[in-house]
């Protein structure tokens, strides 16, 4: 709903935010970058990306690369490999030496590909999936509104005790207590996604009358503390054809489906359906700051623009994971890079996340 008097959001904006915490990136047992003066690049259509001042990067661990990418908004990025002994993260560091007018002045700052590093630390806590945004909050609120879910015409869930999850500038999601769901119609899928605000979601296929609605539902069995109330509750993709959600007896209108260039079906709540966020001066931040759009998929946090987004991939920090071995499925024909990096998700934290190297 666009309120009367609200102006349309500009097509591309970016903010260059000071990071108030100590930030470290670790690779191959070495701290590659360690800064108390890092920056966060927030930009329309991208996940937030961390940048380090050059003086806080161990430049001796960088190796020359000829790889470049071109952003029509930011300019040309030149890349370096990160090498620690026999460990190589190819093309995982980049900088914009001549940012375009209209882009923040990022000269003298380097970004590191999030998933190419072994671990990231904000202060002493490991950061998983992708950087969090200062202007995004997630509230999981208990509710008594009446919810029904039908898939393929079959009643799959009904409750008067939902938990409503409000994530800034995303579709409000309705989580149903598991015992109010026809669990016999749900089949666990190998698919999972990761979110730095909520945790790890497992997905379900929903079977209704011999039709399989793949990954039409998901759940956070052990969510992060801030949204603990959704633990074990099940949410349904209202935007999928065949899935319909009602709230207090009224159908919840799904936002339009958009298709990717390769013909795949994707779900994208388009920006014009969300109201204008308040300007920065309203929030106490400095003038010029902007609210960001949905993150969008990429093999890295940079790359060419497109107007299509996959909420699954957005959650996974730009890579679509499938299966227990988490083989990344790159999106839209992006060139595959040689990499054996594992996803920096919650599996990594509990099974093979390294500790930061000892202080010198």
């Amino acid at each position: 709903m666009t309120l009367p008097g609200a102006a349309p959001w500009p097509p591309w904006t970016a903010e260059w935010i000071r990071v108030p915490w100590r930030l470290r990136a670790v690779f191959g047992g070495e701290t590659v970058a360690d800064s108390r003066d890092a920056r966060l690049l927030r930009q329309h259509g991208f996940l937030p990306a961390y940048y380090f001042p050059e003086r806080d990067i161990r430049l001796e661990l960088l190796e020359q690369s000829d790889y470049t990418t071109r952003s029509p908004y930011k300019g040309t990025a030149t890349y370096q490999h990160v090498r620690v002994g026999e460990h190589l993260a190819p093309d995982s560091a980049w900088t914009y030496r001549a940012p375009l007018a209209g882009s923040p002045d990022t000269r003298g700052y380097w970004s590191l590909d999030f998933h190419s590093m072994d671990a990231w630390y904000e202060e002493d806590e490991q950061l998983l999936v992708h950087p969090r945004d200062a202007f995004v909050r997630v509230d999981a609120l208990p509710s008594s509104r009446h919810v029904t879910v039908e898939v393929g015409g079959r009643r799959v869930a009904e409750t008067r005790n939902p938990v409503l999850l409000f994530e800034t500038e995303l579709v409000t999601r309705v989580y149903v207590p598991p015992l109010d769901v026809r669990l016999d119609l749900l089949r666990p899928s190998a698919h999972f996604t990761l979110c730095p605000y909520k945790g790890r979601a497992g997905y379900y296929d929903v079977i209704a009358d011999d039709t399989v609605y793949e990954q039409a539902a998901w759940s956070y069995p052990t969510p992060l503390r801030g949204v603990h109330r959704v633990a074990g509750h099940i949410a349904f993709w209202n935007e999928r054809p065949g899935v319909s959600l009602t709230l207090d007896g009224e159908p919840v209108e799904p936002l339009p489906l958009r298709r990717s260039g390769d013909g795949g079906e994707l779900l994208f709540p388009s920006r014009e359906h969300f109201p204008l966020p308040p300007p920065a001066s309203m929030r106490g931040a400095q003038e010029g700051a902007r609210q960001h759009d949905f993150a969008r998929p990429n093999g890295r946090a940079e790359g060419p623009p497109d107007d299509v987004m996959d909420m699954d991939v957005e959650r996974a920090g730009g890579r679509r994971w499938q299966g227990a071995d988490a083989t990344p499925l790159l999106h839209r024909g992006e060139e595959a890079l040689p990499s054996t990096r594992r996803p920096l998700g919650f599996d990594a934290a509990f099974t093979f996340g390294p500790s930061p190297p000892p202080e010198e």
Binding site: P10, E122, D139, T172, A280, M282, R283, A285, Q291
Partner: protein, 256 residues
């Protein structure tokens, strides 16, 4: 500023909300809406305006008082009456909102303190409604924090919990064992934060002089901030708080 308000002279931004808002006074739900609009005025927390149809108008009576806001213009005030209890001037509306704030037409807002309780969905709200653009993160740190006042060290720690809140400078919450608690005494008064809970305050006595409210504590914070439970946070406006030996720049989180 390309937010559509440039040149219009209006300094308010509106955003619709999908969550259910309810306000309770004297045991009655005074409004119940899933069509609230948040209004952001400079330097203020967001205020929710709900459609007239979602308000129990029979409980409101037009007040003598009218007020004028620099950003939103003239406001009519209403008092709330339930049985014997009255909340004077508890609610207001803007019959002629300025251009850019037309979304407030036919909507009513309530003063936070006037009501007994507020709810977002079924969860209580404290202080003001939760701002969707405001987050709080607490990170365990091993950085060195020292707090000084007039040359006296009030606290020193290598295990702070650093709290980062949109629009605020970093705040260091320190274990009591690292604080000179014998120089601090409880102060009067509390503050309420919708994201963290209720804070109580501490006064420092240095060289015989009392310095009020130099620090605060959340003894029972909301669960989203449980890591700061019972830790002591010093006000960098009143005492010197050094992180890694330096006073922190007063750049609020989210600013360039």
């Amino acid at each position: 500023m390309s937010d559509g308000l440039e040149g219009s002279g209006v300094h308010v931004a509106l955003m619709s909300s999908t969550r259910r808002f309810r306000g309770v006074f004297a045991g009655q739900v005074v409004f119940d809406s899933v069509r609230g609009v948040l209004a952001y005025e400079p330097g203020c927390a967001p205020v929710v305006y709900v459609p007239r149809e979602d308000v129990r108008l029979e409980l409101l009576e037009r007040s003598q008082r009218s007020t004028r806001s620099a950003t939103l213009g003239a406001a009519r005030r209403y008092s709330l009456r339930v049985g014997e209890r009255v909340a004077l001037d508890a609610a207001w509306d803007h019959p002629e909102p300025p251009a850019g704030a037309d979304g407030l037409r036919d909507r009513i807002a309530f003063g936070w303190e006037a009501l007994d309780a507020w709810f977002e969905e079924d969860a209580p709200a404290y202080g003001h409604v939760r701002d969707p653009f405001h987050r709080v993160d607490v990170l365990a740190s091993s950085r060195h924090v020292r707090v000084e006042c007039e040359g006296v060290v009030l606290a020193e720690s290598r295990r702070p919990r650093l709290l980062f809140e949109t629009g605020c400078v970093v705040r260091a919450y320190l274990p009591r064992a690292d604080v000179r608690m014998h120089q601090l005494t409880p102060a009067e008064g509390h503050t309420v934060c919708p994201y963290k809970g209720v804070a109580s305050y501490l006064t420092a006595t240095i060289a015989g002089t009392a310095r009020a409210n130099v620090a605060w504590v959340y003894p029972t914070p909301l669960v989203e901030c449980m890591e700061i439970e019972n830790l002591v946070c010093f006000d960098e406006q009143r005492v010197l708080v050094l992180l890694d030996g330096a006073a922190q720049p007063s750049v609020p989180w989210g600013a360039p």
